[in-house]
Amino acid sequence: RVSSDGKPPKFQPPPKPVIIDRKTQKEERRFLSPEFIPPRGRTDPLKYYLERKDMIQRRKVFNIPEFYVGHVLAVTTADPYASDKSKRFVGICIQRGGKGLGATFVLRNVIEDQGVEICYELYSPRIQAIEVLKLEKRLDENLMYLRDALPEYSTFDVNMKPVPRMDHEDIPVNKLQVRMKPKPWSKRWERPKYNIKGIKFELPEHKMKAAQKWSQPWLEFDMLREYDTSKIEEKIRKELREELEK
């Protein structure tokens, strides 16, 4: 470079890099899979501790992504009777059940006008890969009403490309109101016991009012039914962090 005096230019230290510590930010918003939280009961916590150890071992070997009900997943399982020994199924997650190693999730899809649901076990060694194709939470935690909804709400293309995720922050909530087939349904979804917000009820007013007869407004104030999981969750998060860092 041409300098003004003929002397070398004054040394200017490089600008300090701005370090955004994403690790601490991420850990605040950590997702804890619901099957880690032990159910309320009188069993020995040692049993759940041993199960959690096995679950963590499995997670170290095989990556189980973070997913909620309403996500569209593609699961490849090993099957001796399939061509290439493995089969792939794409579907929307309707529910996540079970605790511990027996945790399951049900995927639903409509193929050739036939609704198909498969219940997979998260920690089964037969599962070879789980990919999240579309990240999207719904208004409810249980989408079993999709069975009685019009089939267009459950159809997902088998060769769907994974939708790219913009932020590493919030998971979008899809406030879709689903239209149903005419009654009778497998369950009376209009009743307040199911507390479903994702259906567009096109029932007459008097039927909706009659369904409210079965509402139990005292349930939310029932103290014996309370199960506060915040402390348990913190302990389990700490455990997970320690184990995964090893």
């Binding site: 199924f89 193929i111 050739e112 198909v116 649901e117 498969i118 219940c119 009778p184 497998s186």
Partner: protein, 122 residues
């Protein structure tokens, strides 16, 4: 009122014929019903043979999909699906569009012709 389809297949369950045979697809004022299950228990699961009453005739059929949830990792269909079959095991139709569970492949010997017609597997 008409009740919803029952879980596993037993006598008098209405089934849905899934292949493209003439018997299965021509409309009739009564739906095809099961009248006998070839099983020690009277309950038919996927892969069992049953006797159907279609259009006033008796025909054997094979269950390919049921509404009742089975073992985990096996598919559960939204309707009880059935494929029409002759007495010796040959299917009557020529194509099966609806998906068929992979578990039927275990009995390749008996159902080889059926699996050859099937298009989609789940």
């Amino acid at each position: 009122s008409i009740t919803g389809a029952c879980q596993a297949i037993q006598k008098l369950t209405r089934v849905r014929v899934v292949d493209n045979s003439a018997l299965g697809n021509t409309p009739y004022h009564r739906p095809p019903k099961c009248i006998h299950v070839y099983n020690k228990t009277g309950v038919g699961k996927v892969g069992d043979k049953i006797l159907l009453a279609i259009k006033g005739e008796k025909k054997k059929a094979l269950i390919v999909g049921q509404k009742m949830p089975g073992p985990t990792m096996t598919p559960r269909f939204d309707s009880n699906n059935v494929v029409l079959i002759e007495d010796n095991g040959n299917p009557i139709g020529t194509r099966i569009k609806t998906p068929i569970p992979y578990t039927l492949r275990r009995r390749e010997g008996e159902f080889s012709k059926l699996l050859a017609i099937a298009r989609n597997f789940v």
